[in-house]
Amino acid sequence: MAVFVYAENINGVYKKAAFEAVSYAKAVADQAGDTVTAISVNPTDSSDVLYKYGASNVINIKDEGLKNFSAKAFAQAVSEVAEGNTIVFPHTTDASSIAPMLAVMKNYSLITNVLEAPESLSPFQVKRRAFSGKGFMHAKAEGNGVIITVSQNAFGVKENTVSGSEEVKNLSVANEDTKVISHEQSSGKLDLKEAEVVVSAGRGMKGPENWGMIEELANVLGAATACSKPVSDIGWRPHTEHVGQTGKAISPNLYIAVGISGAIQHLAGVNSSKTIVVINNDAEAPFFKSADYGVVGDAFQIIPALTEKIKAIKG
């Protein structure tokens, strides 16, 4: 039976997290000698982009009632078409809302925040993130069916083109309990959890007016911006940029921390970054112990200079 995967889209366009989830599902299917069926809701994108990552069948759910997101209605829709006993989701906000409801509907086990390909398929056992990044858990599913959510940027996007076919399912799922009143999407801004490079800053920046240089460095690197908890608590930056134990957990390829001392709660949210650069004027900042590269010095001089040098190398 096929491995099913939820290919999430925003306004009809597939997200990088969808490609990562399909890549993961393909790895599971290869292990099981099986195929991947992707499920998407009201996409406008071509299914070709899902074939590219290994989905050989795509079920496009068409449903006017699902134009607006509702965890319950989306879970119902996915439940109607997902027939396999393994269903993969990305660990995005929407997917993390659907997956627990679907797990109850299907009476399947749910393992969230998955980091690697499964250690075994029967029983399904896999490594997952736990303790907010301060540890890992090897979780085993009991029972016949399993739903997993794949932590963003953990498994990676892997091209694996297969020939695929598309099937359209017209559903009309009841969606009466919730109604979307307004939807604000900031355009052109990189999603923090999907970003491969993140430039983050803390109280060492002295005030919100100094964030221009952080944004410029991020811009040159094609990075998202983030901040430490105190900075979002005092309102210098929005809550959505707070990375750490009670904020977002991220796993970019490169994390640059400027003026952040590296409290244990902050490290919890960022220590799965592949490379960490710490820039701080305090040589005793604990963050240096968890960094790959460190620079002790004045951020107000280092950041503009570093931005120029990266600009030069990027041509």
């Binding site: 997200k15 965890a71 409801m101 086990s109 969230t112 925040n113 736990a130 109604k179 959505t240 790959d292």
Partner: protein
């Protein structure tokens, strides 16, 4: 209006996380326990609705007797009463089932939770509770108003936010922003004293079905020693990032 707030007892955020020698479990030695910080936003929101709308607030925890100090703290923050389901929780599903069973018999208009606990990070209990009760569910909520039989919730989405009206009863999972960090309630002496006499009902679990087992645990591997670069030699930093780490 009756509100049920789900709270989890978790290691303090400053805790170093260690596992037992055979790696089969989390080592609880020397750990201070606190209300899961994300649940604290939900609890504070509930207490604010209690003040503004005359709601009653019940906290529920699935845990053994060791979690009672955390339940008393929730009562000191302002909950009216508490229920503890006498079960050391093993997974999200068994926890959700117990919460749903209590919620079912209590007839709550609103169930508030943190969007995940900072220990096992399942992020699954609120959605499972909603489905078990066949109620609507809004996750990652950063704003909430209640007006009669409807709530208006703001949820965070990737790169933005969405405002949703929800028919009650419903389950809302919150995070920072549901209330501001500065508005979190620190219990005062009066609250602490009154918490001692507030009702804390202990109920026995309804089932013991577990769907996910923690087989073993690993600590985060240490990184190699940091390479320090002089601030006067940023070319070297760029070279290292480009040639060695290959990240730019």
């Amino acid at each position: 209006m009756k509100i049920l707030v789900c709270i989890s007892s978790v290691p303090d955020t400053t805790s170093k996380i260690n596992f037992t020698a055979d790696k089969s479990a989390f080592d609880k030695n020397g750990i201070q326990w606190v209300i899961n910080p994300l649940d604290e936003f939900a609890l504070t929101k509930a207490v604010k609705l209690q003040e503004s709308q005359g709601a009653t607030v019940t906290v529920i925890n699935v845990g053994d007797t060791a979690t009672e100090p955390v339940i008393r703290k929730a009562l000191a923050i302002g909950a009216n009463d508490a229920v503890r389901v006498n079960l050391d929780p093993k997974d999200s599903y068994s926890t959700a089932k117990e919460i749903a069973a209590v919620a079912q018999s209590g007839g709550y208009d609103l169930i508030l939770c943190g969007k995940e606990s900072i220990d096992y990070n399942g992020g699954s209990v609120p959605g499972m509770v909603a489905q078990l009760l066949n109620q609507p569910f809004v996750n990652a909520s950063v704003g909430l108003d209640v007006n009669g039989s409807e709530a208006t919730a703001v949820r965070e989405i990737e790169g933005g936010k969405e405002t949703i009206s929800v028919k009650l009863p419903a389950v809302i999972a919150g995070q920072k922003g549901l209330v501001d960090e500065k508005d979190l309630i620190i219990p005062n002496m009066r609250g602490i004293m009154s918490a001692r006499t507030k009702p804390l009902q202990v109920v026995e679990p309804t089932s013991s079905e577990v769907k996910v087992q923690g087989v073993s645990y690993d600590s985060v591997p240490a990184r190699a020693a940091v390479k320090m670069v002089s601030p006067d030699n940023l070319d070297e930093l760029v070279r290292l990032l480009h040639e060695e780490a290959k990240v730019i």
